[in-house]
Symmetry: C2
Subunit: 261 residues, 2 copies
């Protein structure tokens, strides 16, 4: 057996998320994992399970999702990037592929992740190229968002920021950093400090289901003055997502930027 | 009569270019002008002709195309950006709209244009988000391209860089500048100096049909060492596009960045 570690990028817009879903009696939803496994089956002549560092929701993008899969030793010499890319739709690109140690596991070896969430702060007009890649939040008070972010950073029980209805046992995570930086407009090389295109970056040792989107939703409401920084403490301490009203940020603004090993 | 000046942005990928085409007995191709005029007809109850600063080819994008159209005085108070945007597909955004003097003409008042052409210099992998917005040219020698660009800048007869088979009388144009700058990767705020995502910007007092794409095709061949800077002189002086072999750069990398009045 040879284990292949592969980094892939995808536009999540047209996919029902990463993970293959068991749907009885209906057509299988279009998932990144499904498309990738179909391409591998076409290449190898037999089905192989592909494991990712974690799921991404429907509509969420990835610049560098990491996956692994096992193949017979006889297949270990394949030029994976080239051979697979030809069998994939343009929404999925193979960034790199390499043989990995047999104890490497895309999910269990992962020691952290970096996500980027993009906002469009302008009023009205949204550049068409950004519509599937940013949340058109409108104007926000960035300093209020920074104050709320400062409360959220650190080791906390993030149960109050996970998707309602997906209880798991251990909801303590270390949110190592939340930062933001201006993004250029499409076709521009540099962003002004007051660019309406703004990225928020989240790095942590792990993230609960929809945690980044809930953190972003909280921060945007903080930036609108609808929530205060200290409200973040209330959500953290209570573990109750429904205690305060804030949205789960839309999937389109989110991208998995890096998986740390 | 009131004249409305409107700046629009669009993703050209799914359009057969800007201009409505007369096609007998077949369905009208999907054009930006057609979609815009349909939206206006829906809003106003009657058809209005929309004039652009110039055509864009099939697949070419615009960050700030400028158009104008005339409406009855009774319609002059309409919030064009809002009312029209609701009737447009997501690939078209209205950047701004305002009433203009009756002697303003999107095409005839234009005194220059700025185009941006984006390249992806990486080997193999292309980020999915860039596939419709860059030419994956592979590695290029930028200094060779700069030498060729220096020959092309200035007032010249650009007949040799226009689309073959579209003769027009006056083919002299002033190419005011050709510059390049690194673009960040998707989701990144800054580009390293050696970023594989590279923009070339062309500013001139006017451009012939496919002129930017032919200039870019020439520059890329120069950057591959297949043509020399002085070959540009041969094309300019002969006016013969077929004298040397170089490609018309793909439409997807090109965007109309600004129209100057």
């Amino acid at each position: 057996m040879a284990r292949v570690k592969m980094t892939i990028a995808y536009i999540g817009t047209g996919f029902a998320g990463w993970q293959i879903q068991a749907v009885k009696g209906r057509e299988q939803p279009h998932t990144v994992q499904g498309v990738l496994e179909d391409a591998l089956a076409d290449l190898l002549g037999s089905r192989v399970r592909v494991h990712a560092s974690g799921r991404t929701d429907s509509g969420v993008h990835a610049d560098a999702q990491v996956v692994h899969f096992d193949v017979d030793d006889s297949a270990s010499g394949i030029n994976w990037a080239g051979a697979l890319q030809r069998r994939l739709p343009p929404e999925i690109s193979i960034v790199e592929a390499e043989l990995a140690d047999s104890d490497f596991h895309s999910r269990f070896s992962c020691r952290g992740k970096v996500y980027t969430y993009c906002l469009w702060l302008g009023r009205g007009y949204v550049p068409p190229r950004l519509k599937d890649f940013a949340w058109a939040s409108g104007p926000l008070d960035i300093s209020l968002m920074e104050q709320a972010a400062a409360v959220l950073i650190g080791e906390h029980d993030f149960a109050g920021f996970q998707n309602v209805g997906t209880p798991i046992e251990d909801t303590v995570r270390v949110l190592e950093s939340i930062s933001h930086f201006p993004l250029p407009l499409p076709g521009e090389g540099r962003a002004g400090e007051d660019s309406p295109h703004l990225a928020w970056r989240f790095q942590g040792n792990g993230f609960l289901k929809q945690m980044v989107r809930n953190l972003m939703g909280f921060l945007v409401y903080a930036g609108r003055g609808r929530l205060e920084a200290q409200d973040a403490l209330r959500v953290l301490e209570s573990g109750d997502r429904t205690l305060l009203e804030f949205p789960t940020a839309p999937a389109c603004g989110l991208s998995l930027t890096k998986v740390l090993y």
